[in-house]
Symmetry: C2
Subunit: 656 residues, 2 copies
């Protein structure tokens, strides 16, 4: 029996189950007229932005399709287009359920926690299942079309390009709005979070959807397919068809585990975190058991299973490290909060110090994973460990999308004035969302690093390099330039958010100053202008990173040759691993230091200490939600380009 | 004729000329009783700290000497001790003249600019000449003692260990004091810079001497000797004795060029920058001409001269890049100043974006230098280009030490109330010092990167590695861990400064609150307690970085072997190059953005925009003056350890 048939079956199951969950979400009430009004403003804003974002991407996709067709042939082009469409579709499907789930969560919160949790989580699970389901369907379809496996890379490239647009664009959008809403509304005007008088409040809620739902979904879609395809290509070279089927089976197992895990997320009690953890652990355990049987059925080598297991354990360990550095029950975040007593500068310095040192345990864990998985099963061991880490991507995406849904729900409760009880429930759900979000972010980074290592291994095996020696000056050059890429992309993202936030702050200040009766609640702010600022800035900021990540590997490949390109790849992997971890953890730590103060420590809200912590949180916003996550995608694009055009570089490089 | 004899002659000339300049400085008057009192407080504070710093270093030096004697023999130990002593001596000599030149500069400023410039510059030149002179004397002595060249590495190791103490300790000391003095004195209490009522003002002035004079001098001493020794070792292997003599001749030429250049720094007019530039260019041109003849006399290969020239040109290009990103006449700094209008967070984000992107041109220039110098003369080309960049180290150190002398002089003018005219002159001298300081910082970084590359090349040639392949998992692991080192060290430095500044701020606030009549000028503050906080913090913060940089290469070398260690070296070089450049330029840009606002733009001093810019400047202080410069030294220690113990790692590594 051809076991690979399990893959499309799992993909279809994911989509069917996503449809079922959507139905369950939609059958809930949307509440009062005011709620419907707010929710449809968020809904329309989100869809409008996603459309403009995709539209901006279309010319790029067309140009790249042309180039691929001319250089690598129509099948690679076809795979590329399907990859781009599938990624867009996954983002769109997930987000369109999320923007419907938010208002229903808010409405259910008026009755109690249980239903509200279910709606929010199921809304997120639709995204999780769409991501993993469409990935598996797309790749199985191309596999059955008998595409050469390296042509499948086109799919990964399409996914990565769209994800880069989505991450960078969504990240800029959401943080410009968030910073504008917070700094002027909360600090200068002194009105609460999500207050309808705040002109940037709708843009802020839209941002959660386009950035944290659609952007994140596209990102995990691309790293999921990139790992899968890398495993299939290398598996095929090393073990033939069984090496191809194993990763497909693992993805399928991950989907079934996610479905079963999702069904466990329910609570009669009051602890949503417990319910979500139950879901994650159930999915994880089922996946690991399934991986054991999948390995036995295909390669029959227990060592390969151990390599997979090392990937799963890595994910758990990294989550613990992140929690240590970013949770406000632990010393690092408390030290940052304490430092805020001397003002914003010391708060910033302490936060940066925390984020910088958090890279050390992260890198040590990842290096240990590399050495251990390699010792079990050679290079394939590293690849399959990366696949193991992807075990429950569906569940991770579900939990990650749950965050912005509850965040939106809190906003709707506040704006529609649904009262204290509902606010308490959505706040409780939201605070769980914040915890899970930070952990998911590190998962996405670790996952990206292992995925890129998988691509890198596939690169040098495909090209036939037996060594990439850094004592060649051109390799050292490639390495240095590769390590610089995260710095440049980070700069683009921080600058774009900085500029957009600057404009947003001026606009919100202007509305408070010029619109009469706004503060008294007699007139409405002009939400549209804030949405417009976020949109324009996001679209403007998306292009440079895409161009950078496409041209850098081509420039090095064509001038200094494939070995130098190998240097560029490893340099970019090292750089992104460090920089993305640093940014995610620093941002998370500042955020929670502010929350710790808001919980009443060191004077609490309204003190200079709190104002100082808000500065740290604001600087951290684009760290953790724009630059950090965009870096993951950057390296996929760089690595996939290297792999796709490796043959060209071998043939045409100037220096070789 | 044995040309190598030129080296000790040049070294002696440097010391003699330094003695002559010291006499010229000392013959000037020290001014009023009040001036003498302030100056001796700074003087005593600086010497007291330096003594405690050296004392803290002694046990480490003793332990390391023991280890070296047992493993590598008594000669390496001897070289190590001489290196440590020479570095300490260079720092001490330079600083002890600087703390005497400051008050004399202040006094001369009452009469006019010409003498004040001369005293300040000659004071700095003593440091420049001590650094290059002692380096050359020490190395020539060991060379004539017929030490094996690799035993000379002990000298480099001794220099690097002391320099690491000096840079980290001095950097923490100076920034804790600076931040405390600025944030509470200037911002909260609203008194001017250097006001004697500020309890941290003496500590601040002491900090300039121990950090920017002694620390910087020790740093450039170590990178100078490390390049020289690397060139001698590799030169010997590739070209025999001529390959050893060439770098010695170059250092000697650099000293004579510095002496002649120093004599050109004089002005009758009003433009001190012009005078200093005249000195630098004179020295540079003389050095390049001398390099040509030195190359012809030794290797007789014009290609080697071109490689040297590429190093010199690199230094000039990097200075231009730095000026672009950090000067307030250029768009990047103005954009940061403009962003301060939206508050500290956007100011911080814009500054970070600027510093991050500034790494791109820096890395491209350095990579071009590597490729070009390699194409001229192979690996020796890269080494000798590094040596070329060191051409006028003496001049650079002189100019760099001039900065803190004028800074101190300004402080003395303010504290001793010497009037408007003197203040204007010292301010003018000081502002030139600020410009040259930033450029010198980047020089130190670029210089360190090329020096480390030189050591790295010497490492793999010595070990006999013909390839260090990053597709071996252990090499990739080494590379990843190496890239993490700058993050960890950066964290140590930022945290130490953050904690010390926190304590300092509380103390200065306390004194303003509790000491009666302080603000009215009736009572004096307790300067001693602030000096004590800086001292304790600096001594506490010095140890961890030294341990880290010594243990990391040993741990990797003994477990994963020399090839993995090669990965660690190249990773740390890449990481330091990027991180140190980022930190130096970000810090410099924030500093000048604040100065741009203080010059009257965007509302000028006392506005919220200015307060926001001060936050950026404060965060930038440890970036540019503690973490950034310490990174340079970190990689020397790591690289030298690798080279020293390479034989051990080859013999005893667990995995090979």
């Amino acid at each position: 029996m051809d076991l690979s048939v399990v893959a499309p079956v799992a993909g279809l199951s994911a989509m069917t189950f996503a449809g079922y969950l959507t139905k369950r979400v939609l059958k809930h009430e949307t509440g009062t007229a005011r709620m419907k009004e707010i929710s449809s403003a968020i809904h329309e804003g989100s869809e409008a932005f996603l459309k403009r974002q995709y539209k901006t991407g279309i010319p790029v996709v067309i140009v790249l399709s042309g180039i691929l067709a001319l250089t690598l042939g129509p099948f690679t082009m076809l795979a590329f287009i399907i990859g781009a469409v599938a990624t867009s579709l996954a983002g769109y499907l997930g987000m369109s359920v999320a923007v419907r789930a938010n208002v229903r969560t808010a409405n259910a919160a008026r009755r109690g926690l249980s239903d509200a949790l279910n709606i929010a989580f199921y809304g997120g699970a639709v995204m999780g299942l769409s991501v993993t389901g469409l990935a598996l369907l797309g790749i199985s379809a191309l596999y059955y079309l008998k595409l050469d496996l390296t042509q499948l890379l086109g799919f990964s490239f399409g996914a990565a390009v769209i994800a880069l647009f989505a991450r960078v664009g969504g990240g800029i959008y959401t943080k410009a709005a968030d910073i504008g809403a917070d700094l002027v509304g909360k600090i200068e005007a002194g009105i609460p979070e999500d207050d309808p008088r705040n002109p940037a409040v709708i843009a802020d809620n839209v941002g959660d959807n386009v950035g944290d739902v659609a952007g994140m979904g596209a990102d995990l879609f691309q790293s999921h397919v990139c790992t899968l395809i890398a495993c299939m290509i290398t598996g095929n070279m090393l073990y033939g068809v069984n090496g191809v089927v194993l990763p497909l089976l693992m993805c399928a197992a991950g989907i079934f585990a996610t479905i079963l895990g999702s069904l466990m997320v329910r609570t009669k009690g009051e602890n949503p975190l417990l319910a979500i953890n139950k879901g994650i652990f159930t999915a994880g355990i089922i996946a690991v058991i399934a991986f054991y049987f999948a390995t036995q059925q295909t390669l029959g080598d227990l060592n390969v299973f151990y390599a997979i297991l090392s990937g799963v354990i890595t994910a758990v360990l990294l989550a613990l490290v992140t929690q240590y550095y970013t949770s406000y029950d632990r010393p690092p975040v408390r030290a940052i909060a304490r430092a805020a007593q001397s003002g914003p500068a010391i708060n910033i310095l302490t936060g940066l110090a925390t984020g910088l040192v958090s890279t050390a345990p992260t890198v040590i864990i990842l290096c240990a994973t590399i050495l251990i998985s390699y010792s079990f099963a050679g290079f394939y061991g590293i690849l399959i460990a990366a696949m193991g880490m992807h075990a429950v991507t569906g569940m991770i995406v579900a939990v990650d999308s749950y965050g912005p849904i509850t965040d939106n729900a809190s906003g709707i409760v506040e704006m529609a004035n649904l009262g204290q009880k509902a606010r308490e429930i959505t706040d409780k759900l939201d605070s769980v969302g914040n915890t899970t979000k930070t952990v998911c972010k590190i998962f996405a980074i670790a996952d990206a690093v292992l995925s890129e290592l998988a691509l890198f291994i596939t690169f040098f095996i495909t090209v036939g390099l037996t060594a990439i020696s850094i004592i060649k000056p051109e390799v050292a050059t490639g390495l240095f330039i590769g390590s610089t890429l995260p710095f440049i992309l980070g700069s683009f993202c921080l600058r774009a958010v900085g500029n957009a936030a600057f404009e947003m702050i001026e606009e919100v200040r202007r509305q408070f100053r010029e619109i009469e009766g706004l503060m008294e609640g007699r007139t409405k702010p002009d939400y549209g202008r804030c949405i417009d600022i976020s949109t324009r800035s996001a679209l403007k900021g998306m292009t440079a990173p895409v161009i950078l990540s496409i041209t850098a590997p081509i420039a090095i490949g064509l001038t200094l040759g494939v070995e130098a390109l190998g240097g560029l790849l490893i340099g970019s992997i090292a750089g992104v691993m460090l920089f993305a971890t640093f940014m995610a953890n620093t941002g998370g730590a500042w955020d929670n230091a502010k929350k710790f103060i808001e919980a009443g420590h060191f004077g609490g809200k309204g003190t200079p200490t709190h104002a100082a912590a808000v500065v740290g949180d604001t600087v951290g916003d684009p760290f953790k939600d724009t630059a950090g996550p965009s870096l993951n995608v950057l390296i996929t694009v760089v690595n996939v380009i290297a792999l796709l055009f490796a043959g060209y570089f071998l043939a045409y490089a100037i220096l070789m």
